[in-house]
């Protein structure tokens, strides 16, 4: 069946009401080799966004171990100094972050300290929306990555310019006119028909495309559903091709997070021209019994990211991919009564890749300078981190995407 590329090469745009599916769709497309990636000259490569869902406790991730207030505020949760991995005289990594410490030492990891935004919101959903829309003030509908993909000249329009690994499309990608699939498993991403009549498959695909193209917008969601269906059919074969005949030398850990990154590696190796990938690691909402939960999650994070970076090295793309982690907020400075912490504010962000300048950026919020609610005061607006990535990695107009100018940081030249 024709790929989306072949579709668009013919200059056709699929319209909705009353237009019959063009005749050329009736031909069964033969497999054609994919053209090479078509990044615009300005972008240095792909961006992988890693969302830590639930609100990762930043204070136990990048630990101000030399500050006596740390142990005063966290008599039970304070991590023993002997187990920590020092970055400098003031700050250290959580013991589970060994692989990331190695990357830091190799200059491939940047840590931005104290990231947040003014008037912090402590609702998971509102704060996550803020991070994903880059709009703390109003209730923007579209996402920052959606706005970027919508505005950039990244390859051909409507290609899978972004891909989310997971079941739901993150709000960060929401926009009217750019197609971003959410995929759980490349292997399942295929349109199946009755195995007894394989010859009927082409006719079924053609008919479904006709049903999609000819739907009449009588019902509110009909248009949306038809467009998604056409996208699904077109991309299924294209992405399915990427799934076959690929292997990696890296032994990724057998965790859902690492396996998701493995799929990203596979897609990057497939040279689709996709600009942005999105992966999720959840479970960070540690209101109770934080120690074991956070330990487990940070182990998964570090091991997964490290395996992914090794995979990129094996492909020769270690400096062509930038990975960025964030969470919707950090947590309270003082522990609660359940060996956990409640929703807070500022947190550290990680950036990983061979193309950046490793080190510490921003500044660590002081434990003696908490706000009226007992939370850390942010030092760096998250939009400045986004702006750095947009301007200096993706080659985009950061001010147009974010709606305001932000001074970039120095982790990218």
């Amino acid at each position: 069946m024709p790929t989306r590329r072949e579709f668009l090469r013919q200059g056709l745009v699929l319209v909705s009401v009353g237009v019959a599916a063009p005749a050329f769709l009736a031909k069964t497309g033969l497999a054609t080799p994919l053209p090479g990636a078509s990044h615009s000259a300005v972008s240095r490569g792909a961006l992988v966004v890693v969302q830590l869902s639930g609100g990762n406790d930043g204070l136990n991730t990048v630990v101000p171990y030399a500050d006596p207030l740390y142990r005063e505020l966290r008599p039970q949760l304070g991590l023993p100094e002997s187990e920590l991995l020092p970055l400098d005289a003031a700050l250290a990594f959580h013991p589970a972050l060994g692989p990331l410490k190695a990357r830091f030492d190799a200059g491939q990891l940047a840590v931005v300290l104290g990231v947040g935004y003014p008037n912090p919101d402590r609702s998971h959903f509102r704060s996550m929306d803020i991070w994903q829309t880059a709009d703390p003030a109003a209730y923007a509908k579209d996402g920052w990555l959606g706005r970027y993909l919508s505005g950039c000249q990244c390859g051909r329009q409507d290609e899978a310019a972004g891909i989310a690994i997971g079941q739901a499309l993150p709000r960060a990608f929401w926009t009217e006119n750019v197609f971003v699939p959410a995929i759980t498993n490349l292997g399942n991403y295929r349109f199946q028909t009755d195995p007894r009549w394989p010859d009927d498959r082409a006719a079924q695909i053609q008919t479904l495309q006709a049903l999609d193209a000819r739907h009449e917008a009588l019902r509110p969601y009909a248009e949306f559903l038809a467009q998604q269906s056409l996208n699904a059919l077109a991309s299924a074969d294209e992405l399915g091709r990427v799934a076959s005949g690929w292997s990696t030398p890296v032994d990724y850990p057998n965790t859902p997070f690492a396996q998701a990154l493995k799929q990203v590696g596979q897609l990057i190796a497939g040279d689709l021209g996709t600009r942005v990938y999105y992966v999720n690691l959840g479970g960070f909402d540690t209101h109770g019994n934080q120690k074991n939960t956070q330990q487990r999650l940070l182990e998964q994070l570090a091991a997964g990211l490290d395996a992914f970076q090794q995979d990129l090295e094996a492909m020769g793309k270690a400096d062509q991919v930038l990975t960025m982690t964030f969470s919707e907020f950090g947590r309270r400075a003082r522990e609660n009564g359940s060996q956990g912490t409640d929703h807070g504010t500022a947190e550290p962000m990680f950036l990983l890749g061979a193309g950046l300048r490793g080190g510490l950026y921003g500044s660590q919020p002081g434990l003696d300078n908490l706000d009226a609610q007992g939370d850390l005061q942010y030092q760096v607006d998250f939009r400045a981190v986004y702006a750095t990535v947009l301007m200096r990695w993706l080659g985009a107009d950061a001010e147009a995407v974010l709606g305001a100018p932000f001074e970039p940081l120095a982790f990218l030249a």
Binding site: P181, A182, N188, T207, L211, L225, N336
Partner: protein, 437 residues
């Protein structure tokens, strides 16, 4: 399909999980009003679901057994609104198996049973009961909420997500409410108890109400806010009718709810009987959730059983029962649909359409359909009637007929019927219109 039949098909999709042909016939004979009445009063309807589930013997000590049992309940129940409300509450007053460990099966069974028993009862009573529910006490950590260092998780989500909504309380209310719920925990058997030593009985102020407040007082303070009725009325309207109600409609329903002293049956009844619910605007205006898609398809095809791997299929469609993606439940609507989940729906439909009984049920009898409906037009119209209420625009019907008539040379009539009729069923169930409730 005539208007009266279409209206009942709509009602049974929204207030339940759809209807088989026989169930729809019965509803048409009874009429809209009597059908709504029966839906709202499940206790008046005879139901053998419990016996059927007992006979199937699901292992309710495990989460997957609980999922299987629940899916069969949705297929079999003669009290569909009661079961639809369980689904609603599961997505609204959320808990997830992932935090419950080895007690997940029993705790979720108990929570679902609470929603079944009280889902159409009084909202104040339901809030009090869910604040004492084992799965909820685990999931939102309130069992760890102690005097002196309160855990805010439950208090926050109770106000933000369950009963009031953002903007109708502030951080001070959250912190004080957390104090009021301290000591509300579970004993060794998973039963609710108040640990008096851990309960902060000092003076507090929540939403303008002061005193030595405990959990139930917080609930009273919440329900004293006008916003409480509006919040839930809007959510239930959007669940049953359409996405964008006029504020005036929501206010009217909120008023009914408040005047009934927060009786859920009254509110749901007001929604189902409203002109808005029965309007053209509401018809095919919502996107089916994966559960509605999967169970609804089984009902329309006259299935007697639920495929054993349906919980996994639903997970791939974006709805992992007993494990919502967050405490907000599932966003629903457009969020159900992306390329991957549409492919899952299509592939599930293909499975049902292609099933010939080797591994379970067969749902279609192509030879019988040809015998009864004779021509491609007859078959297409019949399938469109069953699957789409006949709501099939001319251009779509033409595309389906093109497909149905195109039988390759050399294929005999029986094979052509098998191939094309199964194909038609698959295509209709994969099409945009069929995704609509």
């Amino acid at each position: 399909m005539d208007q009266a039949r279409r209206e009942l098909s709509h009602l049974l999709r929204r207030a339940g999980f759809g209807a088989s042909a026989a169930e729809l016939d019965r509803a048409v004979r009874a009429g809209f009003d009597a059908t709504v009445e029966a839906l709202l009063h499940p206790e008046t309807v005879a139901d053998d679901t419990e016996d059927r589930l007992d006979a199937l013997g699901f292992d309710l000590s495990r989460a997957d057994g609980v999922r299987q049992a629940w899916l069969h309940r949705m297929l079999y129940t003669q009290r569909p609104l009661q079961e639809k409300m369980v689904l609603f509450w599961h997505g609204h007053l959320t808990s997830s198996v992932t935090k419950l460990g080895r007690r997940a099966g029993p705790l979720m069974t108990k929570q679902l049973a609470l929603y079944r028993a009280q889902g159409l009862g009084n909202w104040r009573d339901l809030l009090r009961a869910v604040s004492r529910d084992g799965a909820m006490l685990f999931y939102l950590d309130n069992r760890l909420n102690r005097k002196g260092a309160p855990n805010e998780n439950y208090a926050r989500e109770l106000m933000e997500l369950f009963s009031l909504g953002i903007g109708n309380y502030d951080e001070h209310d959250v912190r004080e409410a957390a104090r009021a719920f301290t000591g509300w925990t579970i004993d060794r058997d998973g039963e609710f108890q108040v640990n008096a030593r851990q309960h902060d009985d000092g003076p507090k102020t929540v939403l303008g109400r002061s005193g030595a407040l405990a959990g139930d007082d917080v609930i009273d303070a919440i329900l004293a806010q006008p916003a409480a009725a509006t919040f839930l009325a809007r959510k239930l309207f959007r669940f049953f009718a359409y996405d964008d109600p006029d504020p005036a409609v929501v206010d009217r329903l909120a008023g009914v709810f408040r005047d009934s002293d927060y009786d859920l049956r009254t509110l749901v009844g007001a929604i189902l009987r409203s002109p808005e619910f029965r309007s053209d605007k509401a018809y095919h205006a919502l996107i089916k959730s994966p559960v509605e898609y999967a169970i609804g398809s089984l009902k329309l095809l006259g299935a007697e059983t639920v495929p054993a791997d349906l919980p996994a299929v639903l997970r791939r469609m974006g709805q992992d029962l007993l494990n919502p993606p967050s405490v907000k439940g599932w966003d629903g609507g457009q969020a159900w649909i992306n390329a991957a989940t549409l492919l899952e729906r299509s592939n599930y439909a293909n499975r049902l359409a292609s099933a010939r009984g080797e591994h379970g049920e067969s749902y279609l009898d192509p030879a019988e359909l040809v015998h009864r409906y004779r021509t491609p037009e007859g078959v297409v119209d019949h399938l469109a009637e069953v699957l789409l209420d006949g709501d099939c625009p001319a251009a779509s019907r033409a595309a389906l007929l093109d497909y149905a008539r195109d039988a390759s040379a050399g294929v005999n009539d029986d094979d052509a019927a098998d191939r094309k009729i199964r194909g038609l069923a698959h295509l209709i169930m994969a099409s945009p219109l069929y995704q609509l409730s």
